[in-house]
Symmetry: C2
Subunit: 197 residues, 2 copies
DNA sequence: GATAATCGATACGTTGCGTATCGTCAACAG
DNA sequence: CTGTTGACGATACGCAACGTATCGATTATC
């Protein structure tokens, strides 16, 4: 004890087996009867896990959905790096579309945002997490385009990235009519050239 | 009874006094302690109205929020018609911003979308309503711009309008960091010219 | 083989939703 | 003036889900 006290980092995450059972049960429910059927009690039952166990490792339903969202999305969106900015963006949007429409990640996101409206603490966490999630790859793509002079360097980064990505989430989470693959392409083209004649 | 039976249209809306009391109470709650405090029972208490009365006229909390959203937004967004497309768009976005950030309309919208995640029936209604709401004025502005040749006529209408409006809603409802007035201007400019060098 | 962490089961209190019942009150028509 | 109708308030339910507490059993780890 010659050193300062070490507050050892306890593993504040669920044991893998438990986490796997819980997230899988949540995914099955979400995929089956949709978001309304995703309740803590249903998850517990379907996972063959006690409700108390869930509350030991997750603070709320939003936390579970966020965890699930991450588990699905992790390492599924990679940088296309085709060498062409437009192609990169199109590939990026399409892989995002595939993930969000082809899996339950989209519904997890929708449920997540619904949940945090009544939970200020998780709200900032989810928003921060979501923002980070969206930026990891997009940032790299935009970085290259700015460095190579493909796109204007005088614009605010956020403005650019929102312009690219906002319609995607808007269609998915608000309009509930996800973009099609063709619309992804068309969207990228018009973002580049603008709508003016 | 020589005529066909007439199924007279009963007035399926609440009497004005009741509606006013309920929506006002909902607004006060939303403005005060935020969305989590907006419960049917709290609305009833604050409005000095019995819960049964509320259920007589509204099918769910989402219906109340939708009604409130309309009541606030109705006739508050007018067509600027300045003669200049960019100016029209900027004025439009700013008045929308003022409405959504300066009143509780934004929070009503957020609560509305959270609510309908667990209510498939209201979900389509809210989405349709919301889509209509957003288009009334924007459509006119875009119409004029296409007619006058200010913007390209070869683009999909939805693509154009989503590009304009999606970042606004994305920032407001998902990122929970509404655009600033300056960002509205900058956004319109870049939508027109694109981000390419 | 002891200690600690994790777990399942169960019970509990609470909130909020949505329904049912019933007596009251006001408007309005005959 | 009286009867009918429509809206209302009060109250009581039943129910689902949340989140907490307790406690004995199980597993892992040293």
């Amino acid at each position: 004890m010659s050193e300062k006290l070490r507050f050892e980092e306890k593993p504040r995450v669920a044991p893998v087996a438990t986490r796997r059972k819980v997230l899988e049960a949540a995914a099955v429910l979400l995929d089956g009867d949709g978001y309304p059927s995703v309740t803590i009690e249903a998850i517990a039952t379907n996972a063959g896990v006690a409700k108390t166990t869930i509350y030991r490792w997750w603070s709320s339903k939003a936390a579970i959905l966020l965890d699930l969202f991450d588990a699905i999305g992790d390492e599924r969106i990679s940088d296309p790096a085709t060498g062409d900015f437009a192609e990169d963006l199109k590939a990026y949007l399409k892989s995002l579309l595939e993930l969000m429409s082809g899996t339950i990640a989209g519904e997890a996101a929708a449920g997540m945002f619904a949940e945090v409206q009544s939970d200020p603490v998780m709200k900032v966490e989810v928003c921060a997490h979501f923002s980070e999630f969206r930026q990891i790859v997009l940032n790299q793509i935009v970085d290259r385009a700015i460095a190579s002079g493909t796109i204007r360097g005088d614009l605010d980064r956020r403005l650019i990235e929102d312009l690219i990505i906002a319609p995607f989430w808007y269609r998915l989470l608000i309009a509930h009519e996800p973009m099609s693959l063709e619309e992804c392409d068309a969207h990228v083209d018009v973002v580049l050239t603008g709508i003016a004649s």
